[in-house]
């Protein structure tokens, strides 16, 4: 059969950011997908060498607008290792609060985008309305909605007052009630199931060999989540990963949907159990040596390799983001699918291209 190569992206309705897939088709069936990136490369790793290391906290937040706090958290934990600095106990719990609020709004964003991808506009609007409430509490606690800049080397920059904590808890009650209302539509609606069940299957073995991370891996039965290592206050709060086994786009949807409830529970618990005390420990000296810091973002594992040379500037700052790790899995899930399913399958890895390119 004759083959046709068509470009999918870099401009496409399901792609808020630019990536191109060169799709080789036989009739309407995809037989090969080759990715092309390079549209938004910003050279953040180089900037990380030119800045002084405390400035990089603000730089790395700009790697991704959706999980900005978690980038800063990963970087700060790495620098704290190099400085032999222990963050204060209270700050570890506040870090969990902000990290999970980011995961919560990120998963809402993705669930809404998925609904939008197949034209389910009312579901999209309801999910994003819920997301706005979470963005409001980020603004309440940090003064900003997206780049909140509350994470600092040694702890956090701002405390969360009892009054703010009360508003957060009320907001979470509202969000959970809304999610309860949307659950049956998201998980049982025939149009959603027909677009996701059995589509883009990645087996557990493929997920591991292709280096998949986050919900993409967990939807294929890989019970791996960096929060299991207990960084920040996750160890004290107790954590079990959300895992599904079908490996299809529907399983990836279920993992993210279930993780919204998990994030709500973690924020509630962190606010309830956060000890009183200082929110930041004073950092002294300059980073010396090298370390690897890993945390779990909404899209999966992020890795920071940080090398210091005893000066204010780092020798090397390397960032591997989760979408970068999930692109090979996307290349494996597309062959065999219909062209009409490609947009939903691309979306099913929750691609973040500005993260990928840095």
């Amino acid at each position: 059969m004759a083959r046709t190569v068509i470009p999918f992206g870099p401009q496409h309705p399901v792609l808020p950011e630019p990536i191109q897939l060169k799709l080789t088709l036989e009739d309407e069936r995809v037989v090969e997908a080759i990715p092309a990136i390079g549209y938004v490369h910003r050279g953040i790793e180089k900037a990380g060498e030119l800045n002084e290391y405390p400035q990089n906290v603000f730089l790395v937040e700009r790697v991704c607008g959706i999980c900005s706090f978690i980038h800063a958290l990963c970087y700060c934990q790495g620098i704290e290792t190099l400085l032999n600095l222990e963050p204060t106990p209270r700050s570890k719990y506040l870090r969990v609060v902000w990290a999970e609020l980011h995961r919560l709004h990120s998963h809402h964003l993705w669930l809404g985008l998925l609904a939008d991808a197949f034209g389910f506009e009312s579901l999209f609007m309801q999910l994003w309305r819920n997301r706005e409430r979470i963005m409001d509490v980020l603004e309440l606690t940090a003064g900003n909605r997206v780049i909140i800049s509350t994470c600092a080397i040694g702890g956090v920059r701002r405390d969360i007052s009892q009054e703010s904590a009360k508003i957060i808890l009320e907001t979470l009650d509202y969000c959970q009630a809304e999610l309860d209302k949307l659950a049956s539509t998201l998980l049982r609606d025939s149009s959603i199931r027909s677009r996701t069940v059995g589509k883009g299957i990645i087996t557990r073995e493929q997920a591991v060999s292709l280096g998949a991370v986050g919900p993409v891996a967990r939807a294929s039965g890989v019970a791996q989540d960096l929060r299991m290592t207990g960084y920040a206050a996750y160890g004290a709060l107790g954590f079990e990963p959300v895992v599904e086994t079908a490996g299809d786009a529907y399983a990836r949807l279920k993992v993210r949907f279930r993780e919204t409830y998990q994030s709500i529970g973690l924020v509630r618990k962190a606010l309830a159990e956060a000890p009183e005390g200082e929110i930041i420990a004073r950092a002294k000296g300059n980073p010396q040596g090298r370390t690897i810091s890993r945390v779990e973002q909404p899209r999966g594992e992020v890795l920071y390799y940080i090398a210091g040379n005893g000066t204010r500037n780092l020798e090397r700052l390397r960032i591997r983001t989760p979408t970068f790790a999930n692109v090979p899995a996307l290349m494996a899930m597309l062959p065999g699918s219909e062209l009409a399913d490609v947009p939903v399958l691309v979306l099913s890895i929750d691609p973040c291209i500005s993260c990928t390119e840095r």
């Binding site: 080759i34 990715p35 092309a36 990136i37 390079g38 490369h41 050279g43 790793e45 180089k46 290792t81 190099l82 032999n84 591991v208 060999s209 292709l210 280096g211 791996q224 960096l226 299991m228 290592t229 980073p287 010396q288 040596g289 090298r290 370390t291 690897i292 890993r294 594992e301 890795l303 390799y305 090398a307 210091g308 040379n309 005893g310 020798e315 090397r316 390397r318 591997r320 970068f324 790790a325 692109v327 090979p328 390119e357």
Partner: protein, 149 residues
Amino acid sequence: MVEQDKATPVTPPSTGVTVAIPQGASIENLERISLDELIPRVSALAKEGWRLVTLTACDIGGAFEVLYHFDRDLVLSNLSITIPAGQKLPSITGAYLCAFLVENEIADLFGLEVEGLPIDFHSHLVLASAAAPTPLLKQPRSERGGSNG
């Protein structure tokens, strides 16, 4: 695996190049190996079910250090090789196909040529055609010796 990260300077196995490795805090489970050992060791890790997390390349002056990070059950294991400027880096895509992306990125950002790439973006995975080449080298390419550096 043995932690060997505090000694400096070091002469990595079979390269003959003496390089400066940062002192101070160190990476757990890091093992320095020779270039000849790379493919067999990586293939063995793939068979044992380790996930390739990523590669990290560093310009260490006259040579590159390339670290290979692997994960199994949330434990990180790292291999390190040192490769003189001008020498080609063998691709590990035979064991981990997913490495092609990061190997292309290293070629872009460091000018380190990778041998055996199944998909070769010819130094334009992340860099635009008009972008300055090899932005992560410590010195501009024109001031360095060797075809790679």
